[in-house]
Amino acid sequence: MTSIPLSEPLGTCMPGFSGTITGFTSDNKDIESASVEQLREMGFTEGLDIAVLHQNPFGRDPIAVRVGAMTIALRRQQANLVQVTAS
């Protein structure tokens, strides 16, 4: 079982991380929260490559991530809604 890569919340990742989006943290399996929906609208989606590029120089939060062709800045708390696995 150890060969299956574990998913972790994006908010805990440091610059240099690169991997794939595996899913979103949701309280309810059927209805996604407004925050998750907003992340999807911005371009986050399952299966996309993701990389943490930068973090704020003053407090390591927010982070800037590359998702597909875009660069998106967001706070770590919100990034925690995104589940990722390292590649």
Partner: protein, 621 residues
């Protein structure tokens, strides 16, 4: 011709321009209509709708709308877009055609929104914009396949180079008389549409390209933990230094021109009211403000370049931490930085802030950011009282004081934000979610248009509001004339003299003489008018030699240093701008918040001036 048709009452088909933020909607709108809507490289540059007629043979009305990622509106500007395209807007009627703009370098993401809008059942044309950038990134898209897959016409465009416009106009005209696209099931949830969009993109994209490689490389430097903040603060510092040093020569030229015109008038006109009207009234008053055109243009040049390169969003990213410490988020930094130019667009730009309390806080602190109208006030007083010397490494002392005044404004804005967020605008801090756009070299045409517009607005103000208030002030300063055997200058006996003496009672504790007190009254309309008013008042009470020496040397001999410092402190805070008050009323929907804003700023201004004056008097005494 198009305008004529519209004027005669024929209703032209309405085309709404819709798309993700920063995909070039406003640039396309400008290219199609010939108008000059603001264009910038950051998400949220357009915050209100604007309409215009398409130029050329087709008769269409185009409405430019704020960008949004979906029809679930999360901020005031996005709500406008939602209302217009769903036909629920109070003024605009439902559009006949939707022009859906898509960034060719980010097709997979932008397509999802295209599929969502398609569901509205309105005839639609897709503009595949920025195809030049896509080509540079070696992205290749099969337009025919894309068009077939989504069932609407797709036209390739490059808005900033005016490519593909004729094809687009024809497609829009054709769509206006066509039925809506047949319904295709792409899914009802964001997730389903996302999947469908990725599938379509995968078949239409022939080559994925190399990504925004240049942008990544630049970001590695500009968002570096050390170089990043140093660059940001260095840029701001350079901006304020440049405003001072680059403008010196052109300002001296304008000043010399005004001085020699005054001398010329003195030589050809007999001493009397007519000479006084032109020399003391118009030239001394309006001239005192027109001198600052070069400074204001340099300031706007910096802000326009920052806005068009894509750096603004990075500045917001770097500032987010600091903004979070006072309860705001980095997003608020963009309207606040714009407020360095003018608080009015800054306050309107706050519409892109999703959280209502954050938006209100940003609006209330925007007037504390040092706007360009304060430049004349600061420059005159600094030139008169701060020695023009360097303090090492090419940094001028005058520029340093100016930077200090800007800093005072910024710091008090942050403190006020913290206070407001804990009292009147109490509530949880909003999150920060911002797309960092790809860098682009500044579009020289857009920057030039922006500067031209600013020069036009500035000179029009000088020719209208400043001219009129100067003339009124001159009239009140000349009548009634001095009585027989008067010992003081005639102006002391005029209406202005009387009003000034009455107001002096209020302002004496903060070191203001009657001349300053009276100049603050017309200065309520706009800050720079105060300088025009001082120009007129001192011109009327001084000798010819003094007038020709200019306002700077007049002030130098008329004011004490504590008074000058107190005057600077006053202008850091005082809400002396009717336009700002008016736009705050409009944006907050009532008089409550503008009244609150004016009250708190006047209290701060009086308090700061009082402390400054007393401290300076004590230290120098």
């Amino acid at each position: 011709m198009n305008e004529q048709i519209a004027a005669e009452g024929t209703v032209l088909p309405i085309v709404a321009v819709v798309g993700n933020p920063n995909c070039g909607k406003s640039a396309l709108f400008n290219a199609l209509t010939g108008l000059r809507q603001k264009v910038a490289n950051y998400p949220g540059a357009t915050v209100e709708r604007r309409s215009g007629q398409v130029t050329g043979a087709v008769n269409l009305t185009l409405i430019d709308l704020p960008g949004t990622y979906s029809l679930t509106a999360r901020s005031v500007d996005e709500e406008v877009t939602r209302q217009v395209v769903t036909g629920t807007h109070a003024i605009e009627s439902k559009p006949n055609v939707i022009l859906s703009v898509v960034d060719a370098t980010n097709l997979a993401q932008h397509l999802r929104f295209v599929l969502e809008i398609r569901e509205l059942g309105i005839p639609m044309v897709v503009a595949l914009n920025m195809t030049d950038l896509a080509a540079r990134e070696r992205i290749s898209i099969d337009v025919t396949a894309l068009s077939e897959q989504i069932g609407v016409p797709v036209i390739e465009t490059v808005a900033v180079r005016k490519k593909g416009l004729d094809d687009l106009k024809l497609a829009l005209a054709k769509a206006a008389i066509s039925p809506p696209p047949s319904m295709i099931e792409f899914g009802q949830t964001v997730r389903q549409r996302q999947k469908a969009a990725r599938k379509i993109a995968a078949t239409a994209i022939i080559s994925e390209g190399i990504g925004h490689r240049t942008t990544r490389q630049i970001d590695r430097i500009l968002l570096n933990p050390i170089i990043g903040p140093v660059t940001l603060f260095g840029l701001l510092f350079l901006m304020f230094q440049a405003v001072f040093s680059w403008a010196e020569t052109p300002m001296e030229l304008i000043e010399a021109g005004i001085g020699s015109t005054q001398a010329f008038l003195v030589s050809i006109l007999p001493d009397g009211l007519i000479l006084s009207f032109f020399s003391d009234g118009i030239l001394a008053g309006v001239g005192a403000v027109v001198v600052f055109l070069p400074q204001i243009l340099i300031l706007f040049l910096f802000i326009l370049v920052l806005e068009s390169t894509g750096y603004m969003a990075r500045a917001a990213f770097i500032m987010d931490r600091l903004m979070a410490s006072v309860g705001l988020n980095g997003r608020a930094f963009i309207p606040l930085l714009s407020s360095f130019a003018c608080a009015v667009p800054g306050i309107m730009a706050a519409r892109s802030i999703a959280n209502e309390r954050d938006r209100l806080t940003t609006i209330l602190i925007a007037p504390l950011m040092t706007c360009s109208a304060r430049l004349p006030v600061y420059t005159v007083v600094i030139a008169a009282f701060i020695p023009n010397q360097t303090v090492g490494a090419g940094i001028g002392l005058q520029g340093l004081v100016m930077f200090g005044l800007y800093l005072a404004g910024i710091l008090s804005a942050l403190v006020m934000a913290a206070v407001l967020k804990r009292t009147v605008a109490k509530g949880e801090a909003d999150s920060f979610l911002l797309e960092l756009p790809k860098y682009q070299s500044p579009n020289i045409r857009f920057v030039a248009i922006g500067l031209y517009e600013r020069a036009r607005i500035f000179l029009r103000r000088a020719g209208t509001i400043i001219l009129v208030s100067t003339i009124i002030l001159w009239g009140l300063a000349v009548y009634p004339g001095a009585p027989e055997g008067a010992t003081e200058p005639a102006i002391t006996y005029s209406f202005v003299g009387v009003i000034g003496s009455a107001l002096e009672v209020v302002f004496a504790p903060i070191g203001f003489n009657w001349e300053i007190s009276v100049a603050l009254v017309p200065g309520m309309a706009a800050r720079e008018v105060a300088i025009a008013a001082l120009g007129t008042v001192y011109s009327l009470s001084g000798s010819e030699a003094m007038i020709e020496a200019g306002l700077v040397s007049v002030l130098n001999s008329a004011w004490s240093l504590p008074t000058a410092l107190s005057f600077l402190a006053w202008f850091v805070f005082a809400p002396q701008c009717l336009s700002t008050i008016a736009v705050t009323r409009r944006e907050t929907g009532g008089w409550k918040w503008p009244a609150f804003m004016v009250a708190y700023l006047f209290v701060l201004a009086y308090g700061a001036s009082f402390i400054t004056f007393r401290m300076a008097t004590w230290l120098l005494g």
